[in-house]
């Protein structure tokens, strides 16, 4: 961790996320993944470049658009796909679906679709990390829309008041579902500036430039790890597909063709490719590896058993530990 951005690794991580999302999008219309899915295609740089700087014992939390964070943190692909397919082998045993990913081994604690819902939980994990002196950092990813929820403010206030090791990461894709920023948030104010309300450190960077994300993340994580308290990062990025589901939604008209186009040209993966990270041969090998992994994971997920309806009441109340 630290040091210059390991661009080839980030490229591999981003490409893998992209290919997995594409594979899900392709198969989604088959109607076997029967849960809402929020794709992160176009937004891969942030999860990749932040999570690459985390230890396994650092804990990541996310919201509805969580596939990238789960995968970048090392979450098990098979368990994720099985979860989307509603199988007992899913990471949440099918109970949660795409919106409730979890892989405790990998340090991906939880994603949940209620906006800002996991933000206070991440702060609480940071609080207990300080009690345990474990050195573990909490990282929570959320969108621009989630910053409108009061729980975000309450969380930042407390994290700042207690100088907790939390990294707040806002992926600002300029939309909350179909609503642009105007009228939702003050004009001409960066989300990163919200940190000022708590005398909290913050920064803003291009979320489609993996190196920029890495660098901002490195500074922020260094700050947090040194016990200087929480940090808020804001990254500009863009969602390519519809808010929820596998298709583009250009036809809906809430985003102009020019805007969509401009952002597609700012593809975070293309950027690294243009910078010749990696070479063409390497990339082919990488693609082949990823494709094989994806195929195997889909095959495993689709072959896995569904939960037994007789277990409907399992996991409501835990047996005493």
């Amino acid at each position: 961790m630290g040091g210059p951005a390991p661009l080839p690794d980030l490229f591999a991580s981003m490409l893998r996320i992209r290919r997995i999302e594409e594979a899900i999008a392709k198969r989604y219309p088959e109607g076997e993944m029967r849960c809402p899915v929020h794709f992160c295609i176009g937004q891969e740089a942030v999860p990749a470049a932040i999570c690459a700087q985390l230890a396994r014992t650092d804990r990541v939390f996310s919201g509805h658009r969580s596939h990238g964070h789960y995968l970048a943190k090392g979450g098990d692909l098979r368990a994720m796909l099985a979860e989307l397919y509603g199988r007992e082998t899913g990471c949440a045993r099918g109970r949660g679906g795409s919106q409730h990913l979890i892989d405790l081994e990998a340090g991906f604690v939880a994603s949940a679709p209620i906006l800002a819902g996991t933000i206070p939980i991440a702060v609480g994990a940071a609080l207990s990390a300080t009690w345990r002196k474990s050195g573990s950092v909490s990282v929570v990813f959320f969108g621009d829309g989630a910053t409108e929820e009061g729980a975000f403010h309450e969380s930042m206030n407390f994290a700042a008041a207690r100088r907790l090791p939390v990294l707040f990461v806002c992926e600002n894709n300029a939309y909350s579902v179909h609503s642009a920023m105007e009228g939702r948030q003050p004009a001409g104010r960066r989300i990163a500036d919200m940190a000022k309300a708590y005398a909290m450190a913050s920064a803003h960077a291009d979320g489609n430039d993996a190196a920029a994300v890495w660098n901002a993340g490195a500074i922020a994580l260094d700050h947090v790890r040194k016990g200087n308290g929480p940090y808020l990062l804001e990254f500009d990025t863009y969602r390519w597909l519809e808010h929820c589901g596998p298709n583009p939604d250009d036809a809906l008209g809430y985003r102009t063709p020019a805007e969509i186009d401009a952002w597609r040209r700012r593809c975070p993966i293309e950027k690294l490719r243009r910078d010749s990270v990696p070479g063409a041969a390497e990339e082919r090998a990488l693609e082949a590896r990823i494709a094989a992994e994806i195929d195997a994971a889909f095959a495993a997920a689709r072959a896995a058993p569904f939960p037994d309806p007789r277990d409907l009441g399992a996991f409501v109340h835990p047996a005493r530990s």
């Binding site: 989604y28 219309p29 109607g31 076997e32 029967r34 849960c35 809402p36 899915v37 509603g86 199988r87 899913g90 949440a92 099918g94 109970r95 949660g96 679906g97 795409s98 919106q99 409730h100 949940a112 679709p113 209620i114 906006l115 800002a116 819902g117 829309g145 989630a146 409108e148 929820e149 009061g150 909350s176 579902v177 179909h178 609503s179 009228g183 939702r184 948030q185 929820c244 589901g245 809906l252 008209g253 809430y254 569904f306 939960p307 309806p309 277990d311 409907l312 009441g313 409501v316």
Partner: protein, 352 residues
């Protein structure tokens, strides 16, 4: 017959209410957006402008207060939550302020607001997107709570709710949105607090709410050939609760099944059963039976969701138990229209 879907009926009701009264306004995240809350607000912003059909940040709690504040200038806001689950973030303003507003200032203020809460179901809506918490709101003094089950009532009760000076919680089940029925063209009200005998019968009463009315009607249809005439009472409104219609039916049939879309335990069905027992005890031949969700969170996988949600067959079994019909004689359940039973109709193809 002027056939309209439930969603279209809501949209029409909103549009006419907006046209009829300049104090009416509609607000919520996505309300003026291109998909218009499953079509129910589509086109309204274009006609009435972005002030009266207003987008909102994702600030459910404060948004409720914004709307309440606007009532001070005479406005009559309609707040839309795409899922009941999101209204859970607004409970303080809804329960501590709005519901008590008129009372706690000795009648000097009023909160003529409508809360459209949509119950999600199916296609893996899962634990945080499919709660049906009408019992909560009904429990809180100050609210009226309405649960239309037909397009005609959806429009009429929405209009009545908008014109009511109490805050009204309108619970709309997502699975009703595609259902069609006769919807009068003019602006009309369906009085809040009146149940409706949706199908007359002699042998057992099924008192149902919202989408469970559809299941109850299905069950009645399927039991009829066996000579069992089920009376389906569409409760339509929890507060005020029409105990008269309910108890009159129970007095006729002597049997009661209560079918609600929410969790059974401490749910709306408990109140309905308790009221019927209190008022029609002498007529009850057996104890009322409650149907609803088990005391578990909603699972995402269809493999569990199909077992989680009660359906017509469950009502049939309950009625059979009451009237002494051998359950083996019940008709076999129709197969699902897809691989699972987690979509309302065959046209439904994926995420909301």
């Amino acid at each position: 017959m002027r056939l309209r879907s439930f969603a279209e009926a809501i949209r029409e009701g909103l549009e006419q209410a907006l046209a009829d009264d300049p104090r009416v306004c509609v607000m919520g995240p996505g309300v003026p957006g291109p998909t218009g809350i499953f079509g129910t607000t589509r086109g309204l912003a274009e006609r009435f402008g972005p002030e009266r059909v207003m987008d909102m940040p994702s600030s459910e709690q404060a948004m409720t207060g914004f709307a309440l504040g606007a009532t001070l200038d005479g406005y009559r806001p309609v707040i839309v939550h795409m899922r009941v689950d999101f209204a859970v973030l607004a409970m303080d303003q809804m329960v501590n302020q709005v519901a008590k507003w008129h009372f706690m200032y000795g009648g000097r203020l009023r909160a003529p607001m409508v809360f459209r809460l949509i119950v999600g179901r199916g296609w893996g809506q899962g634990p945080q997107h499919s709660q049906s918490l009408q019992a909560w709101f009904a429990h809180v003094p100050g609210f009226k709570v309405a649960m239309p089950a037909s397009p005609r009532d959806a429009k009429g009760m929405l209009v009545a709710a908008i014109r009511d000076d109490s805050p009204v919680v309108l619970v709309e089940h997502r699975w009703l949105y595609g259902i069609t029925g006769d919807v009068p063209e003019e602006l009309y009200e369906t009085k809040l607090g009146e149940a409706r005998v949706a199908r007359p019968g002699r042998h057992a009463t099924v008192a149902a709410t919202s989408h469970m009315v559809i299941e109850a009607l299905r069950a009645a249809e399927r039991l009829a050939p066996l000579g069992i005439e089920v009376e389906v009472v569409d409760m339509r409104s929890l507060v005020p609760l029409d105990a008269d219609t309910l108890c009159a039916s129970v007095a006729r049939t002597g049997h009661l099944v209560v079918a609600d879309t929410g969790t059974i335990a401490f749910g709306a069905g408990a109140e309905i059963a308790a009221v019927a027992t209190e008022r029609a005890f002498a007529h009850l031949k057996k104890a009322p039976v409650r149907i609803g969700l088990p005391h578990f969170p909603s699972p995402t996988t269809p493999a569990l969701a199909d077992a989680f949600y009660p359906r017509a067959v469950d009502i049939e079994r309950a009625v059979a138990g009451l009237v002494g019909l051998d359950p083996a004689r019940l008709p076999v359940e129709e197969p699902p229209h897809g691989p699972w039973r987690d979509t309302p109709d065959p046209s439904f193809k994926g995420p909301y």
